[in-house]
């Protein structure tokens, strides 16, 4: 445990309540959008702007304190624990969607075609239905979009795998450079990582376009489309967030905020980046490949 003679307790801060209010406004705006209420989009946009304002303000507050040397080893450890357990909560969020995917593939789709204890369901609901994966013909084809094909694993997804794995390497090289105090290399490797992240997102967007316009693979394409788009979509969103975080770290590196021994923010973002990397491997294997 850290230096025991001095504790750090921050003074009152407006950011937590600004953040709560901002999130509240965004949620109200989003709910109004779903309800097609008038002026919903303004509420939503004001909310989102307030969320961004809160993040910018809160983080700049923390960065200032950090640069002023107010944080001791104990604060650093608290931040590390915070980030680590936050990433675990993110893992569990993805686990829910992977769970849905496995459940559909292993249980609900075979049951619908009469396997196991699904005999009666099959007979009375959709006796014509045959299980397959990817499931392009739904048990009840009306209201669902039958897709022509899925996105093959060994095309853009494999390339994206390579891109993300490489970005995992580049961020590690950046870390090594940081630990050696070579700021130039740190910035270069970080820039490479941000670029790789951006390329990944760009390819992913292209893929979605391809799926929607040519393959007729949509959110409404039954359980395959649902799991495909929600899993890859939330992952893509996390990559985007991770790339934004990396870009902020790059800006801070350019300003020389980090030292050899004191660069928790860099490490936190690197952990996050490795986390989106690992999730992608799961996606590549279970969504695209197998």
């Amino acid at each position: 445990m850290a230096s025991k003679d001095i504790y750090f307790v921050p003074e009152s801060s407006k950011w937590p309540i600004v953040g709560s209010l901002a999130l509240f406004t965004s949620f109200v705006g989003a709910a109004m959008l779903f309800n097609q209420s008038p002026n919903a989009k303004y509420v939503f946009i004001i909310g989102l702007a307030a969320v961004i304002y809160m993040f910018a303000g809160w983080f700049s507050n923390v960065i200032t304190e950090s640069l002023e040397g107010k944080y001791n080893k104990q604060v650093d450890t608290s931040f590390r624990m915070g980030m680590g357990w936050f990433i675990l909560s993110e893992v569990m969020f993805f686990a829910a969607f992977f769970g849905a995917l496995f459940y559909a593939r292993v249980l609900s789709v075979p049951w619908l075609s009469g396997e196991g204890h699904g005999v009666i369901t099959h007979q009375f609901l959709w006796p014509e239905f045959k299980a397959s994966w990817p499931m392009s013909v739904m048990p009840n084809p009306t209201n669902f979009t039958a897709f022509k094909d899925t996105i093959p694993a060994f095309g853009v997804p494999a390339l994206n795998t390579l891109i993300l794995l490489t970005s995992g390497l580049t961020v590690t090289f950046a870390h090594w450079a940081l630990k050696k105090g070579q700021r130039k290399y740190l910035c270069a490797w970080l820039a490479a990582t941000v670029a790789l992240g951006a390329i990944f997102v760009y390819f992913q967007a292209g893929e979605y376009h391809h799926a929607y316009t040519e393959l007729n693979l949509k959110l409404s394409s039954g359980i395959y489309g649902s799991t495909f788009f929600l899993l890859t979509g939330f992952h893509g969103f996390h990559v985007t967030m991770g790339a934004v975080m990396l870009a902020v770290i790059l800006l801070r590196s350019l300003k020389g905020h980090f030292t050899k021994n004191d660069h928790f923010a860099f490490e936190a973002v690197a952990w996050y980046w490795h986390f989106v990397d690992v999730v992608w491997l799961g996606l590549f294997i279970f969504v695209y490949w197998l």
Partner: protein, 531 residues
């Protein structure tokens, strides 16, 4: 910016004043107080909904409210009591007590702490606001099962986002507690010297981090099923409504322990104090709590025995459920063994703790009955289930929270509460909670379904008894508010130790404690924690 230096450097009692003290707070005691007050308000809001439910059920037939509104009362009562009353009360106690129990100046991440609190009122504004919009509040039950919940009107997205919002708050709170306990302990406060309340809370925090995101995932799927044409829970598209129940209860069962474990911790603090003996089997209590937490991730399907699971699944989940009785039994026996040959006195906290041990055990036993698959086919979705979880949550969790308030109120306010009134509150609560919920066992066994505004006339007598108990229980809680306010305003001054048999760091601080709890880490020795 206050970097708190040594104790003789005396700016630790300087505090912000006015409304800003509360809005912008970074103080664990202020935030804890806000949590507790919020939770008390929600307890009464949720309670008034329960009164509406019991009034409607006083007699067969439709009396006061239309069925849609009745259903939304059932739904919102549950959400308010679980997420608005019991959980925030637990977090409030954690905020107040954990730093002063482990010898820390504050929580590890004080600003995030304030955000986890301030999300709560906004999240409930989202949820409760739906009662006043076109179409009324959510009425598909707090478990939000599709396809029924997808028929919710304009309240639907508000419900989903309220759940997301509360999840964010819980996860931030949980992370904070873990960082505090693992990083802020005073020297000598080893893990196996931690007060049991701290142990149960840190284990609860892990449950929150692992289960709340799963709930967020489940309600997100509901949202996309309703608005974006996905078919997670639609068999016509290859999904399965039962999938929602699996994901929901993967969250839901750990959630039960999120509500119960802090209560176990409270009881494990109170019984040794008033038995004037150390807790029997400290280590086994820690391991039992951890076992309950781990097992809670492998029993979820016992909530869904009747949906048509494969037989192997039903057997697995039945046996796994039975296993939880083992560590829970360890706890009950340890509490009883702590009292054995103790020099017991029966102040209000101890009375509530004793009632907890007995009544929670009744709830545990009815839980075992429900966990047995073949008989659950009869009990499922009857009033027996309602009786079961109200024994666990009201005479369990809420009684423990009442006990904790009486136990720590002198520490918080510096004043003793009115013991005589507190005892009256205890007896009224205990008697009427049983009048309220015990007959519901019989109703359930006789076949009365839950979540129904009207019922067959053979259930009339027990329902009337239950309703009378309910009204009386509700009214007697007003006494609790009076006692708390009276204590806050004044009363006999409390000593630092407060209770003769109290042990631990929190009793070494003055009552009320200084604004920043420990500005200088105390030295924790075995003797401090011992008898």
């Amino acid at each position: 910016m206050s970097t708190i230096a040594h104790a003789n450097h005396d700016h630790h009692d300087h505090k912000p004043t006015g409304i800003k003290r509360w809005l912008f707070s970074t103080n664990h005691k202020d935030i804890g107080t806000m949590y507790l007050v919020f939770s008390l308000i929600m307890f009464f809001i949720g309670g008034s909904m329960a009164m509406i439910i019991r009034a409607e059920l006083f007699q067969p037939g439709l009396q006061f409210v239309d069925p849609q509104f009745y259903n939304s009362m059932v739904t919102v009562h549950a959400l308010v009591m679980i997420f608005g009353a019991v959980m925030p009360a637990g977090v409030g106690l954690a905020n107040w007590m954990i730093p002063i129990m482990i010898g820390a100046p504050d929580m590890a991440l004080p600003r995030m702490n304030n955000m986890s609190f301030w999300i709560m009122p906004f999240a409930f504004a989202l949820l409760l606001g739906t009662l006043f919009i076109e179409g009324g509040g959510p009425a598909g039950g707090w478990t939000m099962y599709p396809p029924l919940v997808l028929q919710t009107g304009k309240a639907f997205p508000f419900l989903i986002f309220a759940v997301h919002f509360l999840g964010i708050s819980s996860i931030m709170g949980a992370i904070n507690i873990i960082a505090t306990v693992f990083n802020m302990r005073a020297p000598g406060m080893t893990l196996m010297r931690l007060p049991l309340f701290v142990w149960t809370w840190v284990i609860t925090a892990f449950l929150l981090i692992a289960s709340m995101p799963v709930l967020a995932g489940a309600v997100t799927m509901l949202l996309t099923d309703k608005y974006f044409g996905t078919s997670f829970f639609n068999a016509a598209g290859g999904g399965d409504p039962v999938l929602f129940q699996h994901i929901f209860w993967f969250f839901g069962h750990p959630e039960v322990y999120i509500l119960a474990l802090p209560a176990f911790g409270i009881i494990s603090q109170i019984i040794p104090t008033f038995a004037r003996k150390p807790l029997f089997g400290y280590a086994s209590m820690v391991y039992a709590t951890a076992s309950i937490a781990i097992l809670s991730f492998f029993v979820w399907a016992h909530h869904m025995f009747t949906v048509g699971l494969p037989i192997n699944g039903e057997l697995f989940f039945m046996y796994a459920t039975m296993l939880i009785a083992v560590p829970t039994g360890v706890k009950v026996f340890n509490w009883v063994a702590t009292m054995w040959k103790g020099a017991m006195t029966f102040e209000a906290p101890m009375l509530f703790a004793l009632a907890f041990v007995i009544l929670f055990t009744i709830g545990g036993f009815s839980g075992l009955m429900l966990g047995i698959t073949p008989v659950d086919f009869q009990y499922h979705d009857t009033y027996f289930v309602v009786a079961h979880f109200h024994y666990v949550l009201l005479t369990g969790a809420v009684f423990a929270l009442m006990a904790s308030v009486y136990y720590w109120l002198p520490k918080w306010t510096g004043n003793m509460y009115d013991e005589k009134l507190a005892k009256i509150h205890f007896w009224l609560s205990t008697i009427f909670a049983n009048v309220l919920f015990f007959p519901q066992h019989f109703l359930g066994l006789a076949g009365m379904p839950r979540r129904i505004p009207d019922y067959s006339i053979q259930f009339a007598d027990f329902n009337m008894v239950s309703s009378l108990g309910g009204f009386a229980y509700g009214i007697s809680q007003l006494l609790f508010i009076y006692i708390v306010i009276k204590c806050v305003l004044g009363g006999k001054k409390a000593t630092a130790q407060v209770w003769e048999g109290a042990r631990g760091l929190e009793w070494t601080l003055s009552s009320p404690p200084p604004y920043h709890s420990f500005t200088k880490p105390p030295k924790v020795t075995k003797a401090l924690m011992d008898y």
